[in-house]
């Protein structure tokens, strides 16, 4: 399954909530959708989920347009909104059974489908509990189970981790990994960037409706950086190495941290490689040399300005 977001625009009067957003992702990928509040994340996700119509552009799910063929798209998409289910006088099982009926799953298979989803999302123990009596974490699991009931190929999750306690977050993370392993394409937005970085294979950073960075996580965390930071440990005196590094032309800064030295190397990965070769040639007995990657949080702070429309 290939999901292609194609020059998506959504304008509300003069406000450009989504401004020419394009990216592509595929089955098995977990894509983090990151941006400050009001950046256009939820609008983009709602358009993908067919809940809103773009001003222009389209989203294609294996060639099926969500604008033109929303009915076909509904069967391919599982949507987890940022709000939790709030129906009264209905149990977890009845709620899931209702959505299975709503997706047209026949009575002959519905029971098995709902039970397997309950088992998969660890809801069997609470299937007879009323929805309103559940905790946030449990409701969240119900919400995910509901989105999975028709076995969609794409999962769109709008801040599913918001307000969850650490245990529920870890459970959600594990669930997403399993789903990704099953070949589902997942687009997830969250403000908890450290957690996103742990599970995502790719990320899209958006602000004021425009994409600022997009690509595989390894790529966007290293691309466009003015320098690379490397951590070096040798069997020699650290102070000697520190002084030596400061004399090198492509070293912007160097800091001693206990028995190691941290250096900012101007340029890309070629420059790091050249530095290592130069140290070895100079007789340093290098035992550790690794590049420190910027975190998603750091990247987010660097590329966004925190502006809203």
């Amino acid at each position: 399954m290939h999901i292609h977001i194609d020059h998506l625009k959504k304008h509300y009067g003069r406000t450009r909530a989504v401004d020419d957003v394009s990216f592509t992702f595929s089955s098995g990928e977990i894509v983090g959708f990151v941006g400050p509040n009001g950046a256009g994340k939820s609008t983009t996700m709602r358009i993908i989920a067919t809940l809103e119509e773009p001003t222009s552009g389209d989203v294609f799910l294996d060639g099926i347009s969500v604008v033109e063929e929303p009915d076909k798209a509904h069967r391919l998409i599982g949507y987890v909104p940022d709000t939790l289910p709030s129906h009264r006088d209905i149990s977890v099982h009845e709620y899931l059974d209702f959505f299975a009926r709503a997706y047209g799953i026949g009575a002959a298979t519905r029971k098995k489908v709902v039970e397997s989803i309950e088992e998969f999302t660890n809801l069997l123990g609470i299937r007879d509990k009323n929805l309103n009596a559940l905790s946030k974490g449990m409701k969240n699991r119900v919400s995910v189970a509901r989105a999975l009931v028709h076995d969609p190929a794409v999962l769109i999750m709008d801040e599913p981790a918001a307000g969850l306690d650490p245990r529920a977050r870890i459970e959600l993370r594990e669930l997403l990994k399993v789903l990704s392993g099953q070949g589902k394409a997942i687009l997830i937005s969250s403000h908890i960037l450290t957690e996103l970085a742990e599970i995502c294979t790719a990320a899209v950073i958006i602000e004021r409706g425009k994409i600022l960075r997009a690509g595989s996580l390894a790529h966007i965390l290293t691309a466009d950086l003015p320098h690379r930071t490397v951590l070096i440990r040798t069997l020699d005196e650290p102070e000697l190495l520190h002084q030596h590094l400061l004399l090198q032309p492509n070293i912007e800064a160097a800091r001693r941290i206990d028995h190691t030295v941290e250096a900012d190397v101007a340029g890309g990965e070629e420059a790091c490689c050249a530095l290592l070769a130069q140290l070895v040639r100079s007789g340093y007995r290098v035992v550790e040399f690794h590049q420190q990657r910027a975190g998603l949080e750091e990247l987010f702070m660097n590329v966004t300005r925190g502006e809203v429309q």
Partner: protein, 529 residues
């Protein structure tokens, strides 16, 4: 095995919303408690009435004992049904109408029609449950005197339709997206309607019971009137149903199309029915009912359509036909304010013109020489209808014109507010002006009616109720003036309409990526332009 398969097939036929609603109703305490309470009250009142009631009417030996008790039971049944079921359905829907819950329904394969139908089906089951609880007591009244079986059946059928109508009305109010204040206001309006409906039905059914229906079952007149009442009630239920579906449909869909098609069918069916009744009974009264009902609907429709969108989203545009001759009529039926205005004004003109033409052309048939009163009533009725229609068109088009020409920043969705402001201003402004410039005449009650022209209430009263010599000219000229004004406003809005006509086109054909394109390698995430 066959039985299981049959049950599975039957289960698949059930509306998911109805199943959910009924499950919730069974689980919730409201319905069970109310039903128990209802049975207890019914039993208690029956026992108390038989033990201590007015001997003249309730005594089993009395000729009217059955009718008396039946009316008491009907009061309880209708009261319970009209209050309980609509309130339950309406409040539940209003509470669930938070964005996320409805969104989840939209992205399933359920259609908006299925959602509303499910709510109505669940309510029908609850109504039948309450009616069935009442049936044994109702049957008991037949054993007493003063009542025949056809009367019981027909009154119960009428009650059922009225409860269904009130439930669909409550569902409609529940679908309206509103904040808590507006919801409370709508709740009050709904409660007012339910009270009127309750007392009206009780009065009507008491008359029916007094009249005794059993002896009229073989008369054509009876079935014509009964059929007309039933069809009208069902048509109104259908109209409310269509409106509810339109409200819960996604904004990007062509919401207006089913509403306008239904309105057109409603107009035609009820018009045909009214014509048939008028012809059969040789009286114009059914036509008057038809005119008033449709004029009210169309005026409300005009107030709604001026708030509609002025351009179409991709989803709707892709359904616009490429053939020009098909696009023309569809422009009137598709969502969109200009098309809506034209459609409504066209129907308004026909609603006013057709009965006038019929009554004028066949005046000898409808008005016998002795019915001078009816002719006078017909004239006043026609004048009232024309003035209401003209004022509605004038104020609505003035708001559209003002919004487009002077107040470009006002969103189309708030045009109705502008209409209400203009109406308020137009109704209030003449009074201070009269006070300043015609103080003496104002005190004497002899003001020139032209000063009140912007005030529809005063003008309609003057034209219809006052027939003194100096008011006659005003009465004759006023509709003409308002008509010319309406025409000028429509002409003033012509560029606005033309813009929408030009926009009403299918999009240019685009080439879409297909599944076989194979150009999307996993991980090929790339930013846009």
């Amino acid at each position: 095995m066959k039985a299981v398969r049959f049950m599975d097939k039957f289960d698949d036929l059930l509306n998911p919303i109805a199943v959910k609603e009924l499950r919730q109703a069974v689980k919730g305490r409201v319905i069970v408690s109310a039903l128990t309470l209802f049975l207890l009250i019914q039993l208690s009142i029956l026992l108390l009435t038989l033990s201590f009631g007015d001997r003249r009417t309730i005594e089993p030996a009395s000729l009217y004992a059955g009718r008396g008790i039946f009316q008491i039971l009907q009061n309880i049944l209708l009261g319970a049904c009209i209050l309980l079921v609509p309130l339950y359905a309406g409040l539940r829907l209003a509470a669930e109408r938070s964005d996320s819950n409805v969104d989840l329904l939209f992205i399933s394969t359920l259609r908006p029609r299925c959602i509303i139908a499910g709510k109505l089906q669940a309510s029908v089951v609850l109504i039948l449950l309450i009616f069935s609880a009442c049936a044994p007591f109702m049957t008991f009244t037949y054993l007493l005197r003063g009542l025949d079986i056809p009367s019981i059946v027909l009154v119960l059928a009428l009650d059922f339709l009225v409860v269904l109508l009130s439930t669909q009305g409550a569902i409609f109010l529940g679908t309206v997206p509103a904040n808590i204040v507006l919801k409370l206001l709508l709740g009050l309006v709904g409660f007012g309607f339910l009270t009127i409906l309750f007392s009206g039905t009780m009065e009507f059914s008491q008359e029916l019971l007094r009249f005794g229906l059993g002896s009229h079952l073989d008369s054509v007149e009876f079935w014509l009137v009964a059929g007309a009442v039933a069809i009208t009630l069902v048509a109104v239920i259908g109209l409310l149903f269509t409106w509810s579906v339109a409200i819960v449909s996604p904004p990007s869909s062509n919401r207006a199309l089913p509403v306008r098609l239904y309105l057109l069918s409603f107009w035609l069916v009820t018009g045909g029915l009214a014509g048939l009744l008028a012809y059969y009974f040789r009286v114009p009264i059914p036509l008057y009912f038809w005119e008033w009902a449709n004029l009210t609907l169309l005026c409300a429709q005009l107030l709604v359509v001026i708030n509609e969108r002025e351009q179409w989203g991709l989803r709707v545009r892709r359904t616009i036909p490429r053939r020009g001759w098909l696009r023309g009529p569809l422009f009137l039926l598709y969502s969109g304010s200009a098309g809506g205005v034209l459609f409504t004004v066209l129907l308004l003109v026909l609603t006013l013109a057709l009965p006038r033409f019929t009554l004028e052309y066949w005046s000898d048939f409808f008005f016998s020489s002795s019915s001078r009163f009816l002719r006078d009533f017909d004239h006043r009725n026609a004048l009232t209808l024309v003035l209401i229609a003209l004022y509605t068109v004038d104020y609505c088009m003035l708001a559209v014109w003002l919004r487009n020409v002077l107040l470009g920043r006002i969103q189309a969705a708030y045009t109705w507010v502008l209409v209400l402001l203009l109406l308020g201003l137009g109704s209030a402004l003449p009074w201070p002006l009269l006070f300043l410039f015609q103080n003496e005449e104002l005190r004497m009650g002899r003001t020139n009616p032209w000063w009140q022209l912007s005030n529809p209430f005063s003008t309609i009263y003057t034209c219809v109720m006052e027939s003194s010599g100096d008011k006659t000219v005003f009465r004759d000229m006023c509709p003409l003036f308002l008509g010319v004004l309406g025409l000028m406003l429509l002409l003033g809005c012509l560029p606005w309409m033309a813009r929408q006509v030009r926009r009403f086109r299918p999009p240019e054909k685009e080439s879409h990526p297909t599944a076989s394109a194979g150009s999307y390698a996993p991980g090929a995430i790339s930013p846009g332009a």
